[in-house]
Amino acid sequence: MRRLAGLRRALPAALVALALLAGWEAWVRIEAVPTYVLPAPSVIAQTLWQDRADLAAAWLVTMRITLMALLAAAALGTLIAVGLAQSRLLARAFYPYLVALQVTPIVAIAPLIIIWVDSLWAALLICAWIVAFFPIVANTTLGLASADTGLKDLFRLYGASRWQTLMHLQAPTALPYFLAGLRISTGLALIGAVVAEFVAGTGGSASGLAYRILEAGYRLQIPRLFAALLLLSLTGIALHGLMTALSRRLLRHWHASAVAGER
């Protein structure tokens, strides 16, 4: 029953996709649009299959940077948030710089980082991390400060240590906030990885999907460009779905965002 309901939920979006693709294909064929301007969906699918080895290798490179950056954003972001939540002074001292790091466009700092850091791979990782970490810090900091005042009193009444309060009250309170931040950061980590690759613009063995897009553009291999682009958005959608599922799973018993359907 649940699987059926899930299919029914996905149906409208699938119908829209089908209509769009059919329209696109028809228009390209009827108007005889040249492939180097706009390739038909069938041509893109064909290219995706033909170049699968190349594209898969590139996809792996981009995925590795994205996931590493996301992991680092989650770990360091949580650590920073816990630090900020421990003292107002610390928060007042450092928060503005975190904001500064966030609002500075990554394309402007990426060249510097690539010059400063010897390993290109590490430079890309740092760039993706800078783009991805802030939502986790901002959300988790807010979550850690949102503990119920009555529960705080209760913890004080039983002489809870700072550590106990953090682990048993602040951390669970912050979990939904953290997960919402993580979901935003997932998309940003992918964008960060792609943007950094664009700036680096390097070839060689460590070239990800973004480089394949650049390369295909220079060589006017437009179907390949579209294939790489398609792969990128499918990856983004899949990651987002994964995070949503994780969030639902972790919050299913207690958070309004996850139990709405159960009651």
Binding site: L151, L154, H168, W254, R263
Partner: protein, 250 residues
């Protein structure tokens, strides 16, 4: 034996200048059930927070002489159930024992007893979101009792419940008190509830709160629903209401 809880000239002025309580003088004997009745916003919650040591008085002193001092000696039931939504009933009731680092074995047994005491054995694995308001309040009471406190403080715990649930929980609270014999301080704005539950009623004036009347409730224990419609109950309720009205007008 000194009193379980003594207020000596206790006053509380908050940092923002709110004068919540002034010159409170009273003491609670061990094992007694006392109710505090007062108007809304009259510093009743402040009184309880002072009694629990969650707030420090700005004048006078609060002295607790409890059989088992240290964390866990005081049970506190808030106006809202104040449960952890992410934890099931069992984990919520276990919280005080976890915070006071009781060994797991002993804690398990205590949690089981406390849940049985409030009739929630069958709901140990449920989450607060899956419970009714009355059941949530029962969990809060079980949590307050799980450390076997010698002083139990209740801050209008049943104010948000419907009357039938409220009556039932009143009877349960009395039964638990008969069983455990801890010192109870029960804050409420309901005169009827105070008369039904307590052996003694303190009437609090509007801010800055002070005790204007100290009434002994000479009704037999254990109490039952029939009492609510009896003549002595009505007379006492009338006396407390009069004291409350006079306090507000003064």
């Amino acid at each position: 034996m000194p009193a379980a809880l003594t207020f000596e000239g206790v006053g509380k002025v908050f940092a923002d200048g709110t004068d919540a309580l002034a010159g409170l003088d009273f003491h609670l004997d061990h094992g007694t059930f006392t109710a505090v009745v007062g108007p809304s916003g009259g510093g009743k919650s402040t009184l309880l927070r002072l009694a629990a040591g969650l707030l420090a008085p700005t004048a006078g002193q609060v002295i607790r002489t409890l059989a088992t001092p240290g964390p866990g000696a005081i049970g506190y039931v808030f106006q809202d159930p104040t449960l952890m939504p992410w934890a099931d009933v069992r984990a919520n009731v276990r919280l005080p024992l976890k915070l006071t680092r009781m060994p797991r074995r002993e804690a398990d047994a205590r949690v089981k007893d406390a849940l049985a005491l409030v009739g929630l054995d069958a709901f140990a694995g449920r989450y607060p979101l899956q419970l009714s308001g009355g059941m949530r309040m029962r969990v809060a009471i079980a949590r307050a009792l799980v450390t076997e406190p010698s002083l139990l403080l209740l801050d209008e715990p049943f104010a948000a419940l419907d009357e039938i649930t409220r009556f039932r929980l009143n009877d349960e609270l009395l039964r638990l008190w008969q069983l455990r014999r801890c010192t109870v301080l029960f804050v409420t704005h309901s005169v009827g509830e105070a008369v039904y539950l307590a052996e003694r009623i303190l009437v609090l004036s509007p801010r800055p709160g002070r005790i204007v009347t100290d009434i002994a409730v000479a009704l037999p224990q254990p109490r039952s629903a029939a009492l609510r419609t009896s003549r002595p109950f009505e007379d006492l309720s009338a006396a407390v209401s009069r004291a409350l009205v006079e306090a507000i007008q003064a």
